[in-house]
């Protein structure tokens, strides 16, 4: 076989492999995760390569900056002592559904909980009595020009066993968001 074609096959194998691994990594929580519905406060910007999206601020996106210290089991550290969060810290937020089916924060810890539903986040900012947490699900992309009611928005997410979350769908008043799309034209 022509060496250029052999390289082509190997090269394509590597490139498609990169895309497949990337897609699988991102898709894993959707395939294997548990479901939770989160309360939000959205706003609406634009990404030049990925298009229009909403930035979603979650109710669990701000927590008190002092949390319960959860040392590893092997540690002899004092379990009762609280720790103060700083930017870049990893936190695990335990969640429990309320009567309306919204997952609410029950506990924040520095170590991965051994049971129950929890989501992993990174401390983005600490200011005054609040710490902002990023869970990697703060954006949702949609068709350019599409409109929908952003009031009382919730997000249904899937969270895998490591606490990594992906957005499954947007909800409005508990039902799938009704997107209004513009008619297709060359000016679209």
């Amino acid at each position: 076989m022509n060496p250029a074609y052999t390289k082509l096959i190997i090269g394509l194998g590597i490139l498609l492999g990169i895309l497949a691994v990337f897609g699988l990594y991102l898709g894993l929580p959707l395939l294997t995760g548990a479901e939770a519905t989160l309360a939000t406060q959205p706003i609406d910007p634009f990404d030049p390569l990925r298009g229009q999206y909403i930035i979603i601020r979650y109710e669990i996106g701000t927590i008190p900056p002092v949390i319960e210290f959860s040392p590893p089991k092997s540690s002899t550290a004092d379990r009762a002592s609280p720790i103060t969060l700083k930017e870049g810290d990893k936190v695990y937020v335990s969640l429990k559904d309320d009567a309306e089916g919204i997952a609410r924060l029950t506990k924040v810890s520095s170590e991965k909980p051994t049971s129950g539903l929890f989501i992993k986040g990174i401390v983005k900012r600490v200011a005054g009595n609040q710490a902002s947490i990023d869970y990697g699900i703060e954006q949702y992309f949609f068709e350019k020009g599409a409109q929908f009611d952003t009031s009382n928005l919730q997000v249904r997410v899937k969270i895998d066993s490591s606490g990594q979350a992906r957005i499954k769908e947007l909800l409005h008043d508990g039902k799938s968001v009704d997107m209004k799309y513009r008619n297709l034209s060359y000016k679209s």
Binding site: A4, L8, G11, L12, I14, R50, G88, Q139, F141, R166
Partner: protein, 486 residues
């Protein structure tokens, strides 16, 4: 022969422009995010298109269409990058600067694989551009995560290390007589010229070490990784080329000289730290409770925050009546509704035509003096060249050194180009020389504004540029003739 070469280059150029246009068109289609196509089908279409484009490019190249084939492989690399962003769009991954940097890094790895596997110089250039923008975004992402508390001078050092890495890679490829050796060489020169050019701006120099030398963990790790990568690559390149007699002491010393000069210059800009910037008054929101009480003439604690004293902070009719008399506040109902009582149907505003609280800015006298500014609680320091254009003697000295480094880099490029018969490098050096002249000319206009001064500068500048243009053309011809003779 010359005409044929020209035609081939032209066909290559239009093919590359075509590839770029298609990639931009597809990027916009992706950004449009058409809901009618299911996500998995979008991925299938784009990944299929990427693979098909690579196959088409390689097949065309193997069938005596190397230029168009090369342009189509470049399109494939652009589509690979877009595929990464499409997958990220579908899974709604992080849209922050860190998220963008992650996607750029993944794209870069794929494009680099394509460049080597499919022997595509254009893909290599795309990959190098992607890694350059990744470095910038990654640094900004670290800055963002630490509330912008670290000096951008570290970004300059990171870019310098990347320049060293590129030079090392060019040597490694020279050792192996790799087809990319000349591309790395040209890219290294173009990169270092651009880098020196950017550093030569007065506006930028006082900003580089605005927050001192404190280093964040992320930036530090990046600095160490890039330093090790650069040292390893340069060492391998120098050993390889020395063994092969493909490098001499003159080149090694020149390279070392320019990297040391750039490094020293970056550190030298620290002399300007705290000498250029605005000293402005803090807003009441930035005060602690105690500071708020001390600034009671224009601030007040309200709704658990220190707020600017004005009628608008009183949200209902009864609150409005408790406002300090000097504000002359009165409650206004929307649409003349006198009985309006809350901020949903009225607002509290001043009846005074002039501003009730006149304040004299106590901080601006400390512009361009960070030490005096920051010791005052009520003042905020913002590093900013435009805070005042009175550049100090040190400022001029650093600026002159920066321009000498740029000039040195230009001369090095021209010298290397003529010595090794490389017209591309000669053209590059001449282009940057012309760019430097034009930029500094505009800079002088901005510094020495005024009717008479401007008039003289324009006339003088016009004559210099005309003469300079003629001399540049003559110089370029003579340099190219020299490279031709060799």
């Amino acid at each position: 022969m010359r005409s044929q070469r020209g035609e081939t280059s032209f066909s290559q150029l239009i093919a590359v422009i075509g590839a770029v246009l298609i990639a931009i068109g597809i990027a916009w289609l992706l950004a449009w995010n058409w809901h009618a196509i299911p996500s998995f089908l979008k991925i299938f279409i784009l990944v299929g298109l990427t693979a098909g484009t690579y196959v088409g490019g390689v097949v065309l190249r193997e069938h005596e269409y190397p230029k168009v084939g090369g342009a189509i492989i470049l399109l494939g690399s652009a589509l690979f990058t877009l595929s990464v962003f499409l997958i990220a769009q579908i899974f709604a991954t992080d849209a922050s600067i860190q998220g963008m940097a992650n996607l750029q890094l993944i794209s870069f790895v794929g494009v680099l694989v394509a460049a080597y596997m499919f022997a595509s110089p254009a893909s290599l250039i795309l990959g190098l551009t992607e890694v350059g923008t990744w470095l910038f975004n990654q640094f900004i992402a670290f800055q963002d995560s630490t509330n912008f508390q670290f000096s951008p001078g570290y970004l300059a050092l990171l870019y310098l290390l990347m320049g060293g890495l590129l030079y090392g890679l060019s040597l490694v490829h020279r050792t192996r007589d790799h087809a990319f050796a000349n591309i790395y060489k040209w890219w290294t020169f173009a990169y270092l010229l651009t880098f020196s050019y950017i550093l030569s701006f007065q506006t930028l120099q006082p900003m580089l070490w605005a927050f001192g030398f404190t280093l964040g963990t992320g930036q530090g790790v990046l600095l160490i990784i890039l330093s090790l990568g650069m040292l390893g690559t340069v060492a391998a390149g120098v050993i390889g080329t020395t063994k092969k007699n493909a490098i001499d002491n003159r080149e090694l010393l020149s390279a070392l000289g320019i990297f040391v000069a750039l490094g020293v210059f970056i550190l030298m800009t620290a002399l300007l730290t705290g000498t250029q910037g605005q000293c402005s008054e803090k807003s009441c929101y930035e005060f602690t409770t105690a500071q708020c009480a001390a600034a009671a003439d224009h601030c007040t604690m309200k709704d658990t925050q220190c707020q600017e004293l004005s009628c608008y902070i009183f949200h209902n009719k009864s609150e409005c009546t408790t406002a300090p008399t000097k504000l002359t506040c009165t409650w206004q109902g929307y649409g003349g509704a006198e009985d309006a009582t809350s901020d949903t149907n009225g607002y509290c505003s001043s009846t005074s035509v002039s501003q009730p609280i006149q304040r004299v800015n106590q901080c601006e006298k400390y512009d361009n003096d960070r030490t005096s500014c920051t010791i005052r609680n009520e003042c905020r320091w913002s590093p900013d060249y435009w805070g005042g254009r009175e550049l100090s003697g040190t400022g001029w000295f650093v600026w002159i050194v920066g321009n000498l480094v740029l000039l040195g880099m230009i001369l090095l490029t021209l010298g290397h180009g003529t010595r090794f018969n490389n017209p591309a490098l000669v053209n590059l050096g001449i282009s940057f020389f012309a760019l430097d002249i034009i930029t500094r000319y505009i800079g002088f206009i901005m510094d020495l504004r005024g009717y008479l001064g401007m008039s003289l500068i324009f006339i003088l500048g016009g004559v210099i540029l005309l003469l300079g243009g003629w001399l540049l053309e003559k110089w370029r011809k003579s340099l190219l003739a020299q490279t031709g003779k060799k």
